[in-house]
């Protein structure tokens, strides 16, 4: 179980580095798909089976294919060198990212010990999984407690469809 987690984590981190460092946009995108797929594996290990399936279908499937369509539609070149910022700015952003990593590491090492002990939500989730199944466990709160945000999400998707059409449409004049 733990060894699987470390394998998935290593693939996810490698894929994330690939996204930043790949020479072509398509290569970057394929690294992203590998990172997302291994994140789905991590979700399975964390007992979030429905989220893992949605991650594969919606993220690695639909959204990444949308990115791939746009990259191929725009027919971007392979000018990696002009794409990467160099010099002082790269150094500065490296320092900034390092500082962010340091803050997060200190925060998690302080909190980590007490997180591992008080796992009370795990029993509730396991009971819900046993009672309703993987889909029912998440559908139960989604359609009772969170039904208003759920409906608003539908409106948001409609707005996004209309907005994307209006923005990407070629103007006829």
């Amino acid at each position: 179980m733990d060894i699987l987690f470390y394998v998935f984590a290593a693939v996810a981190i490698g894929g994330a580095f690939g996204v930043v460092m790949a020479r072509t946009p398509v290569g970057s995108l394929l690294f992203m798909v590998s990172a997302l797929a291994s994140l789905a594996g991590v979700y399975v290990l964390l007992e979030a089976h429905f989220i893992a399936a949605v991650q594969i279908i919606v993220y690695a499937g639909a959204i990444m294919v949308l990115f791939l369509f746009v990259i191929m539609l725009l027919n971007l070149g392979h000018r990696y060198r002009t794409d990467l910022r160099g010099g002082l700015f790269a150094l500065l952003s490296f320092v900034l990212a390092g500082a962010l990593a340091g803050i997060l590491a200190r925060h998690f090492s302080a909190q980590g010990a007490q997180l591992a002990v008080s796992a009370s939500g795990a029993q509730a989730i396991d009971a819900a999984l046993r009672e309703h199944g993987a889909v029912g466990a998440i559908a139960q709160p989604l359609f009772t407690h969170y039904v208003v945000p759920f409906e608003i999400t539908g409106i948001l998707l409609l707005v996004a469809i209309v907005g994307a059409l209006v923005l990407a449409k070629r103007r006829v004049s």
Partner: protein, 97 residues
């Protein structure tokens, strides 16, 4: 497992931040923002092991918003590309002081 997942999500978030800062290609910057969203999703799923299934419901909503954001953002990128014939963000300096 929860602590390790949180550390993994922190690493992914930092890599995504670094990517947004150092790449100039607008599509890859956008991909790195998606990576950051995924890191936050991993945090929510890991935290749902502590505080119940609500975290997974939030992940569901985050994914929906990410899909909408990707559709609108890519439409904006297409429209910018039609205007400037490039997606290099250094060329979009109309709003720069």
């Amino acid at each position: 497992m929860i602590t390790e997942a949180m550390i993994l999500s922190a690493i992914l978030f930092v890599i995504g931040t670094f990517g947004v800062l150092v790449r100039r290609n607008a599509i890859i910057m956008f991909l790195c923002i998606e990576l950051q969203l995924n890191a936050v999703n991993l945090t929510l799923v890991a935290m749902s092991r502590l505080w119940g299934i609500d975290g997974q419901v939030f992940v569901f909503f985050v994914m929906t918003v990410a899909a909408a954001e990707a559709a609108v953002g890519l439409a904006i990128i297409i429209s910018i590309f039609r205007h400037y014939e490039t997606v290099n963000v250094d060329n979009f300096n109309l709003l720069k002081w």
